[in-house]
Amino acid sequence: MNTSPVKVNSLRSDLRLAWELTRGSDRGEWWRVTLTATGAALATGFALAAVVLASLRGSYDVPYATGLLDEPGTRSGVIVGLLLLLVPVLGFLGQCARIGAVHRDRRLAGLRLAGATPWQVRRIAALETGLAALLGSAVATVFSVLLLLRVWGRPNALAWLGIALVAVAVPVLGAVAGALALRRVVASPLGWVRRLGPRGGRGPGLLFLAGVLIVAVMALLAVATTSTAAPNRPNGELPLQLMGVVLAVGAGAVWLSGATAKATGRILAVRARSAATLIAAERLRDDPWSAARTHAAVLLVTVVGTGFMGIRQVLSDVVHTSRNLAEPASYYTTGLDLTGAAVVIAFAITLSGLAVGTAESLATRRRGLAAQAAAGVPRSVLGRALLLETALPLAPAVLLAGLGGIAIGAWYALLGDRPVPWAIALVPLAVYAACLLAAATSLPLLRRSVRPGELRYA
């Protein structure tokens, strides 16, 4: 019955519908498309770099990063680092998916009510996300390939295969994630059309966890396949162990961030003395998982960042005091600097995700916020509540992640029989402060959100 011309036809009409719906939608949707494409471009870029490096076998003479990419062992470390960068990108994409989500869910539920089949709605949603991801991945692929051809005249077949795989996989995964995220809308169209205001009840970011898992498996595979040729390296197993620690702490971080949000909400809701704390606490209790994805990425960055700072301290200590190094000192410092840059990039992406998430949470609630302001709730109270929503659950979680990072640093120091670099305890503090600043970037948006104009639309 389902002959292929019909399929092509319906796909084309879905595509047109998806395009029309996106074109006719408001600014929020365009933000989602733009930011999703940006996130997809970043993901593609990191994945492409990792794949191309992974296609190398044995020793090469790569004229970059002072020989860090020459040997399989260090190369696999770089690959893992690149893949780990995908984690904050996933967190960022997760926040992007929330932009205009209420509006989009209602629109797609409207399609269901108008007689679209669940599959059609899923396809349209998948196309919307997939096209944005395709845009990002296409741009990133084109530029990466151009760059690659300049530095590496004739890439091998494996590299080309990897590039093709990544370029296709990013939009496909984006489309699948888009379709999966809609399962409730598809299941009960009426519920979503009628629903007023945002509601929680999301799981602990299942898609995010799945994404992290994929990254982890890929990283382990990369290490396993590329570092076998380096049995002479002393700490050949170190990356694996580090990975294990980071993943364990990371998985704990997602759960911890949700759980602390819930617990903080419950405890504070009862004891809150001020209006701002009360509002923030009840919002956390109501939907503790909404920010878990970004917060989990924050925690991962905290662990990695703190741990890295510890390792860096110890290593540069070693590099500068030891006489008998196998490689020139710049070899080691470049490695450290590269890793540092990766951590900083990851942190920047995570902070963007946090800012986007806060802004979105404001945009979704703007009518309610306008009503509160109309009733005389001072804007400062609303602003404080907004910041507390980020600050409260993050505090215990960052503390624990910081401790984890310090433990990594201390462990490494003890391994090398060096003094423990306690200064790294400042890293979690800095992370926490930066997160509050990122959340604070949406305060100007609050001012615009509480306009009385918002009261005029039901």
């Binding site: 003395r273 009360l278 109309a374 009733a375």
Partner: protein, 228 residues
């Protein structure tokens, strides 16, 4: 015949949203303890008039006087305080914070005014009792029926003992029986405490709860029932 000075009055208000004029010189007065209905077709400027009178929106022209003070001369901070302490607002829906329980929603204005949590909750409970929704005090707005949520909203609007309550289509989302309960509760509470009510509605049966009615037509107050 000299009338007492109105508690709240507007004269010559104009307000344009983008290119659409909402008010074109509307004047109206609300006396202390009076329940005044503002009626009119949709788009006649009712809500904008309420927003101007409550100090939520600043009119383009004209002035609003409350108790001898001209609202256009007050900074936003003072206006916000005025709305919090001397005014109460009830909208069609959305004025309750979805994440707070009914009790905490009603206690919120008291918390903002500096009352301690326990005291605020106790007084909020009394008001919920008064509006017959004490049994729902631990529910969130989304878990209550529309009528119960609106009665909780009334409690929130009245808990600080305001002198004016602004109600914008308070029964707009309710069936007629729930609407009747909400209106009866509002009118009784306002009469007992001497609170003036500015009631925006398009429904004559709701307007009939008021002492007086003004009709808005195309952004101005239409003369009522005056035969030419």
């Amino acid at each position: 015949m000299s009338k007492p000075v109105p508690l709240l009055s507007a004269s010559g208000l104009t307000k344009t949203h983008g290119r659409t004029p909402a008010l074109r010189g509307a004047s109206v007065g609300l006396h202390a303890g009076e329940i005044l209905a503002v009626t009119g077709a949709s788009g006649s400027g009712k809500s904008t008039l309420l927003h101007c009178l409550a100090g939520i929106v600043r009119p383009d022209e004209g002035s609003v006087t409350y108790d001898g003070r001209r609202l256009e001369e007050l900074p936003e901070k003072r206006l916000s305080e005025l709305r919090r302490t001397e005014f109460g607002v009830v909208f069609q829906f959305g004025q309750l914070i979805p994440e707070l329980t009914a009790l905490d929603n009603v206690a919120l204005p008291l918390l903002l005014a500096g009352t301690d949590r326990a005291g605020a909750r106790a007084r909020a409970g009394e008001w919920l009792e008064r509006f017959g929704v004490r049994g729902q005090q631990d529910l969130r707005p989304g878990e209550m029926s529309g009528g119960q949520a609106q009665r909780a909203a009334l409690a929130r609007a009245l808990v600080t003992g305001p002198r004016v309550v602004f109600a914008d289509e308070p029964t707009g989302a309710l069936d007629s029986l729930s609407g009747e309960q909400v209106m009866t509760a509002l009118v009784h509470a306002a009469r007992e405490s001497g609170t003036a009510v500015l009631l925006i509605t398009h429904d004559a049966q709701v307007a009939a709860y008021a002492d007086r009615e003004v009709q808005l037509r195309d952004g101005v107050v239409a003369p009522l029932g005056v035969t030419a």
